[in-house]
Subunit: 367 residues, 2 copies
């Protein structure tokens, strides 16, 4: 059984973590973030998971799903498998501590991501000694992926912020939501933000509908994504500022003729940063889940630990794919060099914002 | 729901089926073979599957596994997904015809193969409209792959003939089982054949032990592999002759200096052709399954339909990987050109053997 604490990759938006000179630093952030989330998940299982109910049914398998688990580089995948192992360790411990060791189920983990993603890497990197049966489920979590009432635990970390599609109003010159000269809604007019909000609401509604069918009654769902505290304006959260910096870099590059202005105007990052309040509303509208936890937290253990280099690497790892697809791969190095400089210029401002919780952590129980 | 009858790839050892001039012919063989096996599987489900029992439990998912499904080219993968869809169609029909439509389960299919195999292709080629949830399970079927009592139906076609490892006695100059100057046991001394038989017995024993744990009581397992009728000598079956031809070609090439004699002596095809009698014995020793069907059949609808070109293509598709790994890729074209000529020279002899059943079809029920 793994006691590895290097489990959940929580630093936003995504880590690269390969063997460069900043690896140790990245790794520090990850471990610190990981321990925070790991402790939360441990608590949730201890308090909220009803293993007595599970052990009284004829069902001898405990099924867990990790949704959207390969949006990122390889080390990210490895950490996802560690996360799932950790969850299983805690569930097993609960069976034992409640005298139900003889009813211990076997564990099956479904790693989900888009069919087009390369999953061979994940399976090649799964630890040989693991206490679960591993499976891959290709497909979008905005659709049904599993049979009815077949899952006991769902985990999704830093995947739900990705919108399922781009928002057409944002590209329409005649719309009040035309997002000219920006690539995100953080500092955009309310109409733009509303277009994002509407799409996010649609996505989450579908997501909850599907998961409500797939989870057994009593099943738990842990969702982790970028978040913004209630009552904070979207432009004041660090995540918003970071996307703004990226947009400003692209606009500068357009002014210098490295890319066209039209390219910038037709590009929008399909990423949403939700507040506890709006997530609560969406969950309550769905009606199939009880909210066991809903909070924004600070994923980093020390706010003074943020470094420009690590931040740039993280952002690049998460965003390179979608930016390359629109602008081509040639501009990537230049863009992130500029981003790195820009956020260094505003380092003090950015750091001062980091006492705001940037991670939304929620636990839902299927009722 | 698919009514496609182009489902099970039964022609031995494996099909290539891409758009060459012999495609139609290959396709004819496949369809003919397919219809034979499809009808058998349909019968088995109709007669042997107890859907009433399934529908009386709280379990709402019917889980199927296709074991070892990617040993072959891409079209092979597509056909595997069709096979599983066909099985589901028949199971669904049975629920309906027995008035159990309201208890219809949802279906989940686990496609299994080695972790190192590329499964991205399979999932990219899965039909959009399918009536099951698709999953990939990486790993060897000589080990546990699924939780206890979690499968209702297991299918494995042309995978179990591959031995899990090579047999060391065959390479030992001091052993009576040293397989000098041959690459298979078909026309080898009994000691060589026994070494193959022993390894096959070990593999099947492990396979049955694992599947006995994974299948629910009443669950069915359909296994299809190359076979040899009881009482026929191993050297007289067409499969044996084909491997002998391949060995003779390699020896000729060694004599001409294209490869070394030592290379031939250290190469053995890890493929076994089992009889109903020995499979029966292995299943009875395991003790967890009732034998519902155990027969050798003729996978081709017309024995006169065999053509050298198609046979060579099929053999190459199945064997190219393992031969290249040992001898390098350079010799492959030459080897199969020679094979094609050799089997044309012996065409009448080979064809005369094809009234012998070359396919072992068995259905086991977990008791």
């Amino acid at each position: 059984m793994s006691n590895n604490t290097d489990t959940v990759p929580e630093s936003y938006p995504m880590n690269s973590g390969d063997g460069t000179n900043s690896y140790t630093e990245n790794s520090y952030f990850q471990k610190a973030a990981t321990n925070v989330v790991k402790a939360k998940i441990d608590d949730v299982i201890a308090e909220k998971l009803d293993v007595k109910k599970n052990s009284s049914t004829s069902e001898s398998t405990f099924r867990l799903a990790d949704l959207g688990c390969s949006v990122g580089p390889n080390t990210f995948l490895t950490m996802h498998s560690h996360t799932m192992q950790n969850i299983i360790d805690v569930v097993q411990h609960k069976y034992q501590s409640q005298g139900l060791a003889s009813h211990m189920p076997e564990f099956q983990v479904f790693f989900n991501d888009h069919a087009s993603n390369d999953f061979n890497t994940l399976f090649a990197s799964l630890p040989q000694r693991r206490s679960y049966f591993a499976t891959r489920v290709p497909g979008s979590f905005h659709d049904r992926l599993f049979p009815e009432s077949s899952l006991h635990f769902v985990h999704s970390s830093y995947a739900l912020q990705w919108l399922s599609k781009l928002l057409e109003e944002l590209l329409n010159k005649n719309s009040a939501a035309w997002n000219k000269g920006r690539v995100h809604y953080a500092s955009a007019p309310d109409e733009v933000a509303q277009a994002y909000t509407d799409q996010f609401a649609k996505d989450i509604t579908t997501f909850l509908d599907c998961r409500a069918k797939e989870l057994v009654v009593g099943g738990l769902m842990v969702l982790i994504m970028p978040g913004i505290p209630n009552g904070i304006h979207r432009s004041s959260a660090p995540t918003g500022m970071i996307f703004d910096f990226l947009g400003l870099c692209l606009i500068d590059m357009a002014k210098e003729g490295l890319i066209s202005e039209a390219q910038v105007n037709t590009f929008n990052l399909p990423v949403y940063v939700a507040s506890p309040k709006e997530m609560t509303q969406l969950v309550e509208t769905n009606g199939c889940f009880n909210i066991e936890r809903m909070e924004t937290t600070q994923p980093r253990a020390r706010v003074d630990g943020i470094s420009g280099q690590a931040l740039t690497k993280h952002l690049r790892a998460g965003m390179e794919g979608i930016i390359s697809k629109h602008f081509g791969t040639k501009i990537i190095d230049e863009l992130f060099d500029r981003f790195s400089k820009k956020q260094q210029e505003s380092f003090n401002l950015l750091e001062s914002k980091y006492n705001v919780g940037t991670q939304l952590f929620m636990v839902l129980k299927r009722i």
